[in-house]
Structure formats: C-alpha cells, structure tokens
Amino acid sequence: MNPPSHDERAVEAVLFAAEAPMTLAEIRAAAGEGVDVAEGLRALAESYAARGIHPVERGGRWHFQTAPDLAHILRRTREEPRKLSRAAIETLAIIAYHEPVSRAEIEAIRGVQISKGTLDVLMEAGWVRPAGRREVPGRPLIYATTPAFLTHFGLTSRRDLPGIDDLRAAGLLDPIDEVMLNVEVESGDDEG
C-alpha cells in the first residue's frame, strides 16, 4: 500500500490502544490537533479492507476487530455431546406442549420442582427462550420454544407434536414405570 498518512497512522494507533470503542470526538481528542480523523478513518477502512483485522463502526463508536471470516480461529468451539437430563427433557416437553408457560406452571404440570439450571440448560441449547411475563401477580417470566427447537427436533411447527391420543395409542401413557420414575425424580439427580 501507499505509505499511510499521519492522519491514518494516528487514528490507527489511537483506536488500537483504546480500551473501549471510541466516538469521533474521543478519537479527535486523543489523536491531537491537526489530525483529520474522518480522513484517517476513511483511509484506514480502505487499507484494512482485505486484512485479518479491520476498523468497524458500531453505534457511532469505532474499534478494531478481527475479520469475521477468521472467527473460527479465534474462538474455537469444541462441542461436547451431552445427554439432557430427565428433568430437562421433561421441562422442554412441557414448554413445547403448553407454551408459553411460567416456571410455576411447569412445576405444577411436572409435579416436581425444577432447578434454575434446568431452564438454563434449555436456553443454552437454544431451544427455549423467555417470552415475556404473565400479567398476573408477581409477573412471572414465561417461556416458549424457539425456531431452533423445531429445527432440532425435525418439526415444521408445534402442531406436529403428537397429541395425547397419539401418545396413548403409542403406549406412551402407560404408567408402567411409574414407581421407578418417581424414585428417580425425587432422588434429586435433576441437573441438566
């Protein structure tokens, strides 16, 4: 590239060393008299267009960040498959069938308390989201499923969930293991 102008170099160094994104006024104050900040930013954007890092503006504030296409390098995610706990899968099922539901309602349906972690796990998985508050005393948070939930479980819409009659026909309402279930649920191994 052409040797960068002083305007460009000054803005470059100021933005780089900044501890937080900076407004034009802040850059101007830091770069000092006689630096054309607008011109510096323009030149900077051009110089860095193809590079691994570049200056970006967010809400009137500028900062350097790494190129989005290199994100995989900088934030390598290692996926560790984990099975949802019984508490989590039951909570998810209740939300899916009854949404939007409050935590108290989930507990009433489930017949067992749920821990905070259970909902967190479902939200971390991206399957459940807070969906506002119920306008009743206490204004409890209510929860609903997300589009990612439908995608993950291969559903076009929530109407695709089998109804109670379907469940009965499939033998899924038979209270066969009821005693065993209760034992498991109460033993407190409830975490997601």
């Binding site: 390598r76 984990r82 479980f153 899924l172």
Partner: protein
C-alpha cells in the same frame, strides 16, 4: 536535610553509599573515568567528609569507614613503596577505579534502559484484546422420541389413574370341580393327579389349576365320590373314582 534534636542529619540517602558519592565526585572532575586521578578523588572525598563533620552533620558509619580506607590509600600512594605490603596501593587504587567504572557503566545502562520506548508509556499493546478462547460448548442431545416419551411419562404420572385388573390366567375351583368330575367318569384305575390338569405352558395357570384341582378332589373325596392315595409325603398323588 532534616532536623532531629540538636544535630543536623545530612540526607545521606541522596547518595546510594560511599561508592556513589565517590562517583559523583569523580564526575565533577569532568574527565573520562579512565583518565581519572584516584589521588585527586581521594582528596575530594576526604575534604567532603571533613566539611560535613565541620557542619556537625551526622555521617553514616560506612562513609567514615571509606574515608579511613581512602586516607590509608592516599598515604600508600604518596609514601615510598614498601614491597612487603600486599596488596600494593596501586592495586587497591586500580580496584577502586574499576569499581567506579563498573558502577558508572551500570548507571548509564539503567538510564538508557529507562529511556527506551517502553510498553505502556511510549508504545502500547492492544487496549481491549478479545482474547483467544477455547469455548467448550455442550452439544445437547435429545430426539423427538425422548421428548414425547417424556411428555407421555408426565401425563401418565399426573393423570387420575384408573385401576383395571386384567384377567389373569387362573382355574377357578368351580371349573376344576367340573373338570375333575367329568374326567373321573372316564378313568378306570388309579390315575395321577397330573393327568387331570389342562395342558399349558403358562406356569401361573399350571399352578392355579393344580391348586384348584387338588381342592376339588378333596371336596369330592369328602363327598365319597373318589379316593386319594399317596405312598409318602410329597410323593405322587393317585386318584380313582370311588
């Protein structure tokens, strides 16, 4: 300087020890340290200490020790040489000279070091690095069957449970009586109890029919319609019409 009682105490911390003071005096001579006259330096040091004494300044002991040593060195350098004295005054002077040069070199080096483009003062690292993170993300696993099975389990758990006792494979006493009576008419001689039982692979039906048939036989025996015989306890039970 600060005042403590009657005596003034020189702020001796201004020098980092006698060697530092010597070096400061040497620099006042404005000659290259390599050309420095140790004798002249000694004179200046002794004069300085005398001056401080005259001002009744309290002088730290190590400065006085150095003064005594330098006075000895001075006399050694000025008086005719005594070959018996080891080390020689010249050697001592050279050592002092070398020490001053070394301290001076390090002082110089320190200043140059401090004057460099220092990180955080003259040059700056990135202010807000995002960091390189290895994120461990749980890939939560569950399929649609898990989901609906779970819902089925909850529903089943919380539904009012209707108790339906299903028909179990049993032979009632009435049925056994009828069967034994009918079969007894066909049997001519002693026959084992087992011959009266229906053929089945169901173990619970087999148990039930054995028990019911035995009861039926006891009843019929009581009525005098059949006889029972057994050689010993738990041996084969024989039956015939009376």
């Amino acid at each position: 300087m600060d005042e403590t009682g009657d005596t003034l105490t020189i702020d001796i911390d201004g020098w980092e020890g006698p060697l530092d003071l010597l070096l400061a005096l040497a620099r006042q001579q404005k000659v290259d340290l390599r050309e420095l006259s140790i004798l002249a330096l000694v004179e200046q040091y002794l004069a300085f200490i005398e001056g401080a004494k005259a001002l009744k300044l309290e002088i730290a002991a190590d400065y006085l020790v150095m003064a005594a040593w330098l006075a000895y060195l001075k006399s050694g350098l000025l008086l005719p040489r005594d070959p018996e004295v080891e080390p020689s005054p010249e050697e001592l002077a050279l050592r002092l000279h070398l020490r001053l040069q070394r301290l001076d070199a390090m002082r110089e080096a320190g200043a140059r070091l401090m004057g460099r483009d220092r990180l955080g003062r003259d040059v700056f690292p990135r202010g807000a690095p995002e960091g390189l993170k290895l994120v461990r993300k749980a890939a939560w696993q569950a399929d649609l069957f898990d989901l609906i099975a779970a819902y089925g389990a909850i529903t089943a758990r919380n539904r009012p449970v209707m108790h339906v006792v299903s028909r179990r494979p049993v032979m009632t006493l009435e049925a056994a009586l009828q069967r034994v009576e009918a079969m007894l008419g066909q049997a001519l001689d002693w026959t084992t109890l087992e011959r009266f039982l229906p053929a089945t692979t169901d173990p619970s039906l087999a148990r039930s029919s054995r028990a019911s048939s035995f009861l039926a036989m006891l009843e019929l025996a009581k009525q005098g319609r059949l006889e029972l015989r057994q050689e010993s306890a738990f041996d084969t039970l024989w039956v015939r019409a009376a």
